[in-house]
Each structure stands twice: as structure tokens, then as C-alpha cells.
Symmetry: C2
Subunit: 423 residues, 2 copies
């Protein structure tokens, strides 16, 4: 009697996650030299196949335009020779970074002569969920490969041709290398259902990293059972204390607000001590207005300037991500700290002050990944911190907080050497 | 015209989580001396109020018995003078541990003269979800307070009188200390609905730590959106290589299996190289049987002994947590590694061998929190590792892996000091 054996229907996500998982165990054994060689090959392949990549990217741009995508998104989606050259160079830069895998973090001997060593190991399989920018495809692959991980990429439908082309190019390069090509997987099904399935793929993924807007990140955090490295949302403040140097305070606020308003480390609210406000608020507000910044302020702030929109609860909590700012006059450093700890997103917070006591209080009591004294919040960045790479800026407290360099893509392992110990 | 203002109905979980969150910011400022003094006061209070605690514990034991609770669970639930004394002593031991909060982890200067410091800070609010053992109430409170955190405790209904009594005693002690009594919160509503609500309390809880059986942990991991520190499940293996010393191999397996079979770091499967098996398998199996261990084995193993139950898939994946073991003959270290990476829970794995090449291969390729050479898996424990405390044994790869001491209850913060830098 024969039984009919029915094959399970092909599931792209499960199939590719399985391949990534089995590639991860090969990746963990690759030497730094083997990994760097693969990155160099990918770098060269990007240039070699640039015509193909750009023609595929053009398809995404065409459908983006016909779907009414705005200029800023089209710009993020768009690739050209220079951007490809930048990607290729970035890969070379990653080869120059220290490989964290294998690093001995601790080493000691127990009284019973057990020899204990704690070393860094790859995480395993990293799941990346991201929005339009196709450069994340190459960037994430590069950092995951360097750290001995496999990666499952899930980009957005708007960049699908670009992403497929880039992953094909990466695979072409990996074929010439010692690394398994299965270490880089692109999920081509960009449906929401598949993304939701990926959120709960605990058997295959060791971590999920969402890269994109606040809504994407919130969706992942609220639905994922795979551990998430939460990146992103930054409602950052600059607090100008009573004794702040005027020129310094104004220049830091202008920089933190206007240098690149669309990013997470830009300043969204300024809190001003009432005494400093009484003497210098008009100067600050004028400087902001000259840079085209729309002003929102509490009642006190409105007294100092004609063009201040009334600010309410929603302004204190808002990431404008554009040329708008909320301004509030506070009684003391304590009020500033309380406001920031209530409305901030634990990203980057700054105090401008010449009063040591207030500075120490602020640094101690503010709950954030990065706390600045007399410097701009814009420095919260893996490159500005000297890490040479950045997977994202963590706003959570577990595993990694603040700008994440290569070590954030690693875990640890204890190695214990004995001579028969049972007690 | 008057509007009727309706107060939100009292919600114990939200109310206590809010209190914990506001206590956490006070806790973060407490000095090591203040925290240690509070722990000493709690220690003394436990002894002072022991009659009250034991009479409340008796209520739980009475209802446990009348509900048919088995002896092993009753034993875990039961308190007596000696167990209270142990708890009181453990609190004193925690005062002697180094306070990780404030520790400078990294310090450097950027080329633009920004002074960078990375320090340890408390996590904030720790949510503990645990089963019958009331000692977790005191233990978790002690470790969370020492690390400057607030804690929200959710124990089981079967220990509710004991837990209420212990938290009341802790509060009585905290009243005499500088620490806020709101830093320790017990959720008295032990319904599943409230636990489920706690899983998603991202606005208040920085981490959830489940302590208990595999089912509890799986439920938390599958449902929580708060970051989880996954602890527990251990399907640990001992692999006996061809060149393993016979006496050493047998004594390690006996220790790893029988010393305390109910715990996560005990051995559940033994893999035996075919050559070693040919020479020594009967000796190993006899030794296990003499200790009362029920044997399950593959076909090869069954050939060496009369009392071996056939082992299948489910045996390889099983945590017996009792005097049972699964035994399998393997062709090589590679087969052992593949088996362990397939069925293990990434907890603790051991190789017994005199062949350096195989040992290095095993250590490198096994994906687990702790990998042993010539020692028992039973050493995976915060105290055995010399940490002086243990919050649990992490089997996940983010944040902390393996036995977790006090630093696992901390996060980090970057402090950046400038002189006006904007670039």
C-alpha cells in the first residue's frame, strides 16, 4: 500500500530563514581574512555591475514617480554612480575595522582551577526590516558578514528591484569568496503578512533590527517575539541653563536643530532657564527664525517674540523632523530634567551651562543613551563616536544603548576548561 | 454648567507600575552605602518578623495541600526558620558585592576634543514573573535594589500570602532606609489577564524576567513586547570523545546527571564516540543504572545493555529534569556537534576528550552560553562562576548570556563633555 507524501508548500520566508540559519554556523567559523576578502569582492562587484544595478533602480524610481512618491523619498530611493562608489568605499572601510569576533572579554581562574574565558561570538541570524533606502541592503549585509552573522533582509516594496539587484550582486561576489552565499537572504515577498510572520520567527532569527520611521519601529516592537534592537525615535532636547554662554548656547541650538532636521539626533525642543530667557531669549528666537525655523512656545516664550505659535502637550512630545522647534521657559534645572524624562525618548539630551552642580545633576538624572554638556546632540552617531560603522542608534536599555558599532552584532560565550572537575 | 468628571477605575498593575517607575528615578540616585544599608535593614526585618512570615506561609501550605499540590512543590513553597535565615544571610552577601552602577566602562577623547565616557546605569524598572518559590520575592528585590532598579513582582497565586507578607516586611524595612518603599511592588492580582497585561507594559517596564518552568518562559517569550531576559530551559549534553579518560568521563556524567536532576544545568543526553562506546559503554551504563537513572538509547546503545528503552526524536529534545537520560553513539565529534546544535537549548554543553583538535572544534562550533572541556555542566551558575549572585541563566544571545550577575541588571549611558562643539 502506498501512501501519498505531500510536500509542504514552498514558503519563501521559512526556506530562506532556514538557509540563513545553516549558513550562520559556517559564518561563525570564517576568519577575519576570509570575511574581509568577501567584503572587498562585494565592493568590486558593485562597481563592476553598476549598470545593472542602476537600470534596476530606475524601475523603482519610475514606479515611485507614477505612484506619486514625494521628492524626499525619491531621493532616498535613488542610486547613481557616486552613491554606488560611496557604498563600495564603505565596504572597504568595514574591512579596516577590528573584527570583534573571538575577542577575549574576561579571563579568570576559579578556586577549583576551572579556567574561565568569556569571548565574543556572532549573534547568528540577524533579521533586518527597513524602508525605502536601498543602501541599507549593502550596509547591513556588510556589517553582518564582518561580524560572522547571516542576515535576512526584508526591505520595502518600493525598492524591491534595487534590493534584488544588490543582493544578486552580493551573491555574485560571495561565489568567489569562502563565505556561503546563503549568508545573505532577501525576502522578495514584501507583504505585511510575511513581515508579521518574520516578527515571530524565533526558531530562526536571533534578533530583529528595524530601520526606518517611528511607525515601522513601533509596529515591530509591538508585534515581534524575536528580540528586537530598537533604534530610532529621537525627541531630543537642549536645556539652556542660567549660566550658559550665550554664543555657545545659540550656536549649539542652531546646529542641533538645523544642520539636518530630518534625523533622530536633531533637537526638537529647547528648554530655557527663566533668567537666561529674560536676558537672551529674543536673540535665540531671532537666530532660529533667521534659519527658517518655525517657533512653537509656551506662554512665557510667546512674550519674547511675535512669531511664536502656542505650544501644547503634543508639541512637547513631537518629533518635528523638520524646521520647527518647541521652546519652553523653565524655573530650574530640576524642571528641565523632569520635563525631559517625561517627554524625551531616551535618545540624546544636552545641557549648556557653566554651573558644575547643575551639569552633574543633569548628567546623573537624565535617563538617555547620550547626555551632553556644552555640545550638540547631533554627535550621537557611530562615526562621530569613532566606531567606524553604525548599525543604528539603540534607544532601548538592553544589550546596546546609543550608537551601535560592530560589537552590538555579537553575543558572548563562556569557555570553561577543566581537568575532570565535578565540584 | 457642571461636567461630571469620572475617575479612571483603579488598576492595580498600572498604578503600581507607575509608582515603580517614579521610584526608579529616585533609586538611580541612591549611593552604594544607602542601598547596602537598606539591604541590611531588610535582612534584620526578615528575622524580626519571622513569626508573621511563617504564619502567612502556613496559609499557602494549607491551601496547597488541600488543592493536592505535590510534595516537591510544597517543599519549594515552604519556609521555615532556617530558610529565612538563609534569605537574611543572602541579603548580607549582596551588600558585600561590588555595586556595578557608576562603573566607567570606557573613556576616550575624540579628535574634536569631545570627552566621551560610557558608564553603567540601572535598567530602571524590572518586571519579575515567577512561580511558587517565595524566596524569589526577596532574592529579586535584593538584586534589583542593589543595582538601583525598581522591581514589579508577579508571583504565583499559590504563594500569594507568603509573597504579600515578605513584601510587607521589605516595605517595613525600607521605611527606615533612604530608599523609596515604592521601589518594590507586588502585584496581588494573580490572574492570567493581569500577567498578559504586564507582558505588554512597555511604557513602564524596561525588562521582563521570567523565572520558572519551560512553559512559563515560553508563554512570556511568545507574548511579551517588553524586552525579555530569557532564562532557563537546559537540554544539556555531555559528549564523550574517543580519547576520553574513562574514570573522568563516568564521574562527570554521573555528576551532571544525578547531583540535582531537576535543574537546568543537569545533563539530559550523553553522546558517546563509537570507539569509546565499544570499550567502555557498559561501564558507563552500569554506573548510571546504579544511581537509579533510567536509560534511553539509540539502537547501538541498546546493544551494550539490557535495560535500555529505545530512544527517539522526543528523547533527544527532552529535558527529563529527573533520573532519566538519553544515550546515543556517534561516529565523530562532527556528528556530536551537529546533534547538539540541533537539539540543544544553547545552555551548557561539555566534551570529555584528550584530543586537542576535537576539543577546539567543539568549543568553537557549539552554539551555547557555556561550553565545557573535561568538566561538568553543573558549573553553569552565578555562584560557581564567582559572581556572588545570580538573577538567572540567560539562554538568549542579546544583553547577557549564561549566568547573570549584578551587571546584567544594568544598562549603560554615554556622557559627552564638550566646550561648545557643533562639529
Amino acid at each position: 500500500m502506498s501512501q501519498s507524501v505531500q510536500a509542504a508548500p514552498y514558503n519563501e520566508l521559512i526556506n530562506k530563514a532556514e538557509q540563513a540559519k545553516s549558513a550562520a554556523s559556517v559564518m561563525a567559523k570564517m576568519t577575519t581574512a576570509q570575511k574581509n576578502e568577501a567584503l572587498r569582492l562585494i565592493s568590486a562587484q558593485l562597481i563592476e555591475e553598476q549598470e545593472f544595478i542602476l537600470s534596476e533602480n530606475a524601475k523603482d524610481l519610475t514606479s515611485g514617480k507614477s505612484n506619486g512618491m514625494n521628492d524626499s523619498l525619491l531621493d532616498r530611493l535613488s542610486l547613481d554612480e557616486n552613491r554606488l562608489k560611496d557604498m563600495a568605499n564603505a565596504l572597504i572601510q568595514v574591512t579596516e575595522l577590528e573584527d570583534p569576533v573571538g575577542e577575549v572579554l574576561e579571563k579568570w581562574q576559579q578556586p577549583n582551577e576551572l579556567g574561565m574565558t568569556k569571548i565574543r561570538v556572532p549573534l547568528g541570524v540577524v533579521g533586518m526590516i527597513y524602508e525605502a533606502r536601498p543602501n541599507v541592503t549593502v550596509d547591513a549585509s556588510s556589517l553582518c558578514l564582518k561580524t560572522g552573522n547571516a542576515v535576512v533582509l526584508r526591505g520595502s516594496s518600493t525598492a524591491i528591484h534595487s534590493n534584488k539587484a544588490l543582493v544578486q550582486v552580493i551573491h555574485n561576489a560571495l561565489k568567489k569568496s569562502d563565505l556561503p552565499i546563503e549568508a545573505v537572504q532577501l525576502i522578495e515577498d514584501t507583504s505585511r503578512e510575511t513581515a508579521s510572520e518574520m516578527f515571530k520567527l524565533n526558531d530562526y532569527l536571533d534578533v530583529l533590527i528595524p530601520r526606518g520611521g517611528a511607525k515601522l519601529i513601533q509596529t515591530v516592537v509591538a508585534n515581534a517575539t524575536v528580540p528586537v534592537l530598537e533604534t530610532g525615535a529621537g525627541n531630543c532636547h537642549v536645556y539652556i541653563d542660567e549660566t550658559a554662554d550665550v554664543e555657545m548656547a545659540v550656536s549649539i541650538v542652531i546646529n542641533a536643530k538645523t544642520q539636518r532636521p530630518s534625523v533622530c539626533n536633531s533637537c526638537e525642543s529647547v528648554l530655557v532657564h527663566k533668567e537666561w530667557a529674560a536676558a537672551h531669549m529674543p536673540e535665540l528666537l531671532n537666530a532660529l527664525q533667521e534659519k527658517g525655523v518655525q517657533l512653537h512656545g509656551d506662554e512665557e516664550t510667546q512674550k519674547f517674540h511675535d512669531n511664536v505659535f502656542p505650544a501644547g502637550e503634543e508639541d512637547w512630545a513631537k518629533e518635528y523632523l523638520g524646521l520647527e522647534i518647541a521652546v519652553k521657559v523653565v524655573e530650574s534645572v530640576d524642571e528641565a530634567i523632569a520635563h525631559i524624562n517625561q517627554y524625551g525618548t531616551k535618545h540624546s539630551e544636552a545641557i549648556i551651562s557653566a554651573t558644575n552642580e547643575n551639569v552633574e545633576k543633569f548628567i546623573m538624572e537624565i535617563d538617555a543613551a547620550a547626555v551632553y554638556h556644552n555640545a550638540s546632540t547631533r554627535f550621537t552617531d557611530g562615526f562621530e563616536f569613532g566606531f567606524g560603522a553604525e548599525i543604528g542608534i539603540s534607544t532601548q536599555k538592553l544589550h546596546a544603548r546609543g550608537p551601535m558599532g560592530l560589537p552590538a552584532l555579537t553575543s558572548t560565550k563562556y569557555i570553561i576548561k577543566g581537568n575532570g572537575q565535578t565540584k
